[in-house]
Amino acid sequence: MIDTIYVEQSVRGHPRVRQILGRFPAARVIGCERYGEVFNPKAQNFRLQKHRPALILAEKFKNFVLPAPAGYGIGAMRNYYFSHLLNCLYDCRYCFLQGMYQSANYLLFVNYEDFHDEIRRLAAESPGEQTHFFSGYDCDSLALEPVSRFAESFLSLFRDLPDAWIELRTKSTQIRTLLAMQPVPNVVVAFSFTPEATAAAVEDKTPAPAKRLAAARRLQDRGWSVGLRFDPVIFQTDWQTQYRALFEQVFSQLEVARLHSVSLGAFRLPEAFFRRMSSLYPEERLFAGPLDSQQGMVSYRRELEQALLDFCRTEILKYVPGEKFFPCRT
């Protein structure tokens, strides 16, 4: 899976680095001074690197946890996100990471304890008030779990911070770590879904939605809080039939009363990201669709976007009470 690993000089002796290198005895291991030497140069191509992404093991020094964008949330007033990992195992054509980074290599910050400290500090700022931390903003929270052991490390932290909640956002079925531990009540495992035909078209390398659903069901059966994320909503001819079928399938297989939250989001990208993505994949039909650019953001044309969101909202609310529904307002 990973045949090249770059290791920053400063973390060569880090126990997490040694453990990861031990998993890939055949990988070429290349030393570097700072990850930016590998991750940031201009002469790189995200599309080509997606063929064989390398893993970069590095140390983060600041900005461990950042305020979440306005409108991003599932019920709390205080919302933060953090990125222990940049980039994703999967290859979703709509994903903004393709437009944000020069490199498709996985950049893993191994100093988890520094993230822990910052999360503890922020949670302690307002005792008794819920603070939500989102971990799947720049990556899939669980897809690389066998390598990163991220959930294993962070969920023990959250077990001791009852007012702090963490969302693990994923399309993965890597739930072994979670199944092996007692459910942590303030953890939401949030699975992203698009209709089967859309997933087959634009979510390359991901588990099929039916498999994600089975994983969500298993977690729910074991007592974990599960969330559902219909984000982004993607347009195709027949979209109503496809989304109606998806909602029927998902809500018939999960116990709705025990769902933590359901959110819905539009397909939206900063214009500069969109330009970069469509030049990486000029043949991509998704990018030739009925899109419009308004105030620096590319999205479906206003009336179409409204129709998509209205329809999905109406359908979702047939199954889910309003207090569990969180349309994304970014």
Binding site: R28, E33, Q44, L48, H51, T237, P282, A288, G289
Partner: protein, 284 residues
């Protein structure tokens, strides 16, 4: 006849440029690929055939950088061609004749580093290459020593993406067999011995480069001949024609109706595209 969408761009994403320092390194490649010497008065010895060029740069960083710039301009300033630096190098212990691909290139003089992205299955081991100004005889570090790779990486990455820019080095000297013993025939023999690896690398990179071949440009000429478009409208027209091509699966456009103004033409095209069914095909 409706105006057409396509026009041949003349761009070939899979062009391969070999850069070698010595005629003895060039010889096996020229022979294997049956390259022909370019006639005329070039600044470097250049051999070629369709889709491949080989430039003999001479020894050292300056010669290499110049050769790459010359080659890039000579072959039409193509973006995202494959660039391969083939040559001999020293190592403290690696066996003579063994071939290596560079995964990190360090300029010993400046300390600058490059990390060529290896996005394909290699047929040889990889190593750091340190580029030095004078032949290395101490082999103090666990790396390959050469005299061109850093200039090669720096210059070629101006014209192509790093994943398509690679160095393959064949060991010509080590602590057991010093650099002063090398003669041209041995250099040729070492490179000859690595032909299989070079061939595989070239093929793999060409395959990757093909992914970056731009779509043919859209042809706006028949449209601009019939209607007057402002500069802004021309951009809109190009964008719409590209969208039509991708969304329709490259179908021929129907005849435009009798429209007077360019604004109406753009609206007609936009409506035509909006009426197309949107089916996202399964990922290959």
């Amino acid at each position: 006849m409706p105006p057409s969408v396509n026009r041949m761009s003349g761009c070939n994403g899979g062009f391969v440029h070999f850069i070698v320092a010595l005629p003895a390194e060039a010889k096996p490649l020229v022979s294997h690929y049956r390259l022909k010497r370019r006639p005329g008065d070039d600044a470097f010895a250049i051999f070629e055939k369709e889709g491949i060029s080989l430039t003999v740069s001479g020894i050292g960083k300056a010669a290499t950088a110049n050769a790459i710039g010359y080659t890039q301009v000579l072959y039409g300033k193509r973006r995202n061609s494959v660039w391969l630096n083939i040559g001999v190098a020293g190592h403290h212990a690696a066996p003579l004749g063994s071939a290596w691909i560079g995964h990190k290139i360090t300029d010993a003089e400046t300390g600058r580093r490059w990390y060529p992205g290896i996005c394909f299955r290699t047929h040889c081991p990889s190593a750091e290459i340190r580029t030095v100004a004078q032949p290395e005889t101490e082999y103090a570090l666990d790396c390959l020593y050469d005299m061109e790779a850093s200039a090669f990486a720096e210059s070629a990455c101006r014209f192509s993406t790093g994943e398509l820019v690679h160095c393959i080095k064949v060991i010509s000297d080590n602590r057991e067999s010093v650099i002063w013993d090398i003669d041209p025939s041995r250099v040729s023999a070492y490179v000859e011995g690595a032909i299989g690896i070079i061939l595989h690398t070239k093929q793999a990179l060409r395959h990757l480069a093909a992914e970056l071949t731009p779509l043919p440009e859209v042809d706006t000429a028949p449209w601009t001949a019939r209607w007057h478009f402002t500069a802004q409208q021309r951009l809109q027209l190009e964008k719409l024609l590209r969208r039509w091509r991708v969304s329709s699966g490259d179908r021929v456009l129907p005849d435009p109706p009798n429209l007077e103004r360019s604004r109406q033409v753009l609206a007609w095209l936009d409506g035509l595209i909006a009426a197309l069914p949107v089916h996202l095909p399964p990922a290959p």
